[in-house]
Amino acid sequence: MTQAVPGQPLRLADRSPARRRSGRGSGAAPWVFLAPFIVLFLMFLVAPIVVAIGTSLFKVQKSGLGFDTASKTVFVGIQNYATALADPAFIAGFGRVLLFGIVQVPVMLALALIFALLLDSARTKFKRVLRLGVFLPFAIPGVVAALLWGFLYQPGVSPIVEGLKSIGISVDFLSSGSVLWSIANVSTWSYTGVNMIILFSALQTVPRELFEAARIDGAGELRTAFSIKVPLIAPALLLTALFSVIGTLQLFNEPTILKNLTTNITTEYTPNMAVFATTQANGNLNLGSAMAIILGLVTFILSVVVSSVSNRRGRNA
């Protein structure tokens, strides 16, 4: 680290890269500390991706009945990718999760923002209860949450469905039109809390003097919230948006559990479910790898788009 000159305050300029370079010791130390990360990163992230890419370029070729003849593993180039992209169910899965994301992510983040602002507001009562109450669903594993909501969605056993029925309203949470939004509801319920915590933490870092100044200038709570707080935590908001987009594309637990309750969730309902069905039920690792790589690429591209929007916003601000 840089050394402060006695009697002089440490200036920001002292942290310049040039200064840091000149101050470094032997080159080995950082690598020793990084080694555990790098080894695990290579072993459990990079290597599997490389192997998956390799696998996706091959195909197990059988012949005849496949009983007595030996099967060959042959190189097929991008054929598996073409097959995956030509599968309407797989593509429909992307459309479905994108539609899901366009609706669910803004709703969830709006809720998280409102809760975070409420928690931050001096006027709100019972803050601890509110914070715990909103955050608690996140502590419940996704599978359990889906099972729990599954009960509430099922006609015959659901107090909600039966209650609405008794006052003359007939709802079907598991119909082909509504089931996607029933899944969105589970996700929103599960993840609003953690987004709220991220946004709330960001709010805590905003200097309190700004709020004081705003108050002196005559701004009310609402005005302070929307003109001071929200713009200042915009980076955190975009970060949560990024996580949410990634999570949306990888939707798996909730629809897989709810699939047991309704055939309106098909085997390849989301891209991740399609990958699972292809590799597990059908044992086609090669095609499944290609699908996983496609899903990974789409997620990566969307992440880049979201973060570049975030960066541009940051520069403009």
Binding site: L65, G66, F67, S71, L239, F243, I246, T263, T279
Partner: protein, 443 residues
């Protein structure tokens, strides 16, 4: 993807999932590749005095007692049982591919062809000659592929009709002898009380469709020379499609996903007056609808006009796996395990399975009167059905994908956007495409 440097608590669960998925694919690939090079482990020269150990992965409760009988009688061929719990049968293929699998495993008969084409099962025809007549014809047909035998049938699922005696009495119905009678009963019941249905349509429960399809003489697969035949929309299938379409169009079936809390609520509240399913179902009905004790009875499955055939949804088989050093002994044990009287008695009485072996049908357990079914000997109906199920249904590769495709298509039928006939055509096309994409010959 997971290459993004930012990490947060929110999505780690899902990210981990993807990473694990990729990892699973990766390791499975590595396993698959290594599996290609190894293999060719031929049978060791038999030495009758040498002590050998066979490993056996099985899931039937209390089967260790049968294994113990074998071990006592065969000091030189010791069988080591690994009792599977839950779904860990799905790890068998990966273990076999990795060369760490057992010598013998219990496998669904429907999965057998996939085991064979992926070189996981061994042809045991040379070791178990003249055992065909020990098993019911339908059960035997599930392990035979041409001249090859890829397993020993263990249990089966002959169909019977469980019905509510109180409801039948109240509405003046008698158990239907034929499917035409069934439709008439369904109409009569629905007209008398629209909230009660004679039966159910559970789109994802392929076994209910399968047993009736087998009964109608249909088969999803066939073998013709060196090619597979796919026949998901053959005459037998069409027969069931027409029957079910008629029932569904007249709203005579309760459309409900089976095994859900909603389903058992429908059963409990008497909305479903009869359930046609396999011999293992009565046990599950008793567990899940305990308060309806004494209100159920069993009748033979209704038949199609001009036929006396019963229905059959399949069972499991003992399969000798690739990599075993002792295929002969493994096959002999499997054969003994599934057809020896003492062993099968244990599997039936304490394992709860319905036997594929004819000798098992004499098990005293299957002659017990059951108070839940009004003191009736509930299995006598299933025993009779086991002997009249057609042996014409052929299993084939891609079975799991076929059934999940079928569930997806039947879901569309349930929501009214497709007919059964269209669903079958769609599954036919996707199954043919799946087999062809693997390079298999399809006629």
């Amino acid at each position: 993807m997971a290459t993004h440097p930012i990490s947060g608590p929110k999505r780690t669960v899902r990210r981990k999932k993807l990473v694990l998925g990729v990892l699973a694919i990766a390791s499975a690939t590595a396993i698959g590749l290594s599996g290609c090079t190894s293999g060719g482990s031929g049978a060791a020269a038999p030495d009758p005095n040498k002590k050998i150990t066979l490993s056996f992965w099985g899931s039937v409760p209390n089967e260790a007692k049968s294994v113990a009988i074998w071990n006592k009688a065969h000091p030189n061929i010791h069988v080591d049982l690994h009792q599977e719990t839950g779904d860990d049968g799905s790890k068998v293929p990966a273990a076999v591919d990795a060369g760490t699998g057992p010598d013998i495993a219990q496998v669904s008969q429907h999965s057998l062809p996939d085991y064979v084409i992926n070189k996981r099962a061994i042809n045991i025809a040379p070791y178990i000659k003249n055992t065909k007549n020990l098993y019911t014809p339908a059960a035997w047909s599930s392990v035979q592929f041409g001249d090859a035998i890829y397993g020993v049938p263990q249990d089966s699922g002959p169909a019977g009709l469980l019905y509510r005696t109180d409801i039948f009495k109240k509405y003046g119905l008698t158990p239907p002898a034929t499917w035409d009678d069934y439709v008439a009963d369904a109409q009569k019941l629905h007209a008398a009380n629209p909230s009660i249905y004679l039966g159910q349509f559970s789109p994802a429960e392929f076994g209910m469709y399968y047993q009736t399809m087998v009964q109608a003489g249909g088969s999803w697969y066939g073998i013709s020379g060196n090619s597979w035949k796919v026949s998901v929309n053959d005459a037998g299938n069409q027969k069931v499609a027409a029957l079910w379409q008629g029932l569904l169009d007249q709203k005579l079936l309760k459309v409900v996903q089976m095994w859900t809390p909603e389903y058992w609520k429908d059963v409990d509240s008497g909305q479903i007056a009869s359930i046609s399913y396999a011999a293992w179902f009565p046990q599950l009905l008793k567990q899940n609808a305990a308060k309806l004790s004494g209100k159920w009875a069993v009748a033979p499955e209704p038949t199609f006009a001009g036929s006396t055939a019963g229905g059959e949804s399949g069972g499991a088989a003992m399969v000798v796996l690739k990599g075993t050093k002792y295929p002969k002994q493994a096959a002999e044990f499997s054969s003994w395990f599934d057809s020896n009287k003492a062993s099968v008695d244990i599997l039936v009485s304490q394992g709860g399975l319905f036997p594929a072996a004819k000798i098992g049908l004499q098990s005293p357990t299957l002659d017990q009167a059951d108070p839940y079914f009004g003191g009736e000997k509930v299995f006598s109906v299933f025993k009779a059905a086991a002997l009249i199920s057609p042996d014409t249904a052929q299993n084939g590769p891609g079975f799991d994908k076929l059934t999940s495709d079928l569930a997806d298509q039947f879901g569309k039928v349930a929501s009214g956007s497709e007919t059964f006939a269209q669903a079958l055509d769609s599954v036919q096309a996707s199954t043919v495409a799946n087999l062809k994409s693997q390079g298999l010959s399809v006629k």
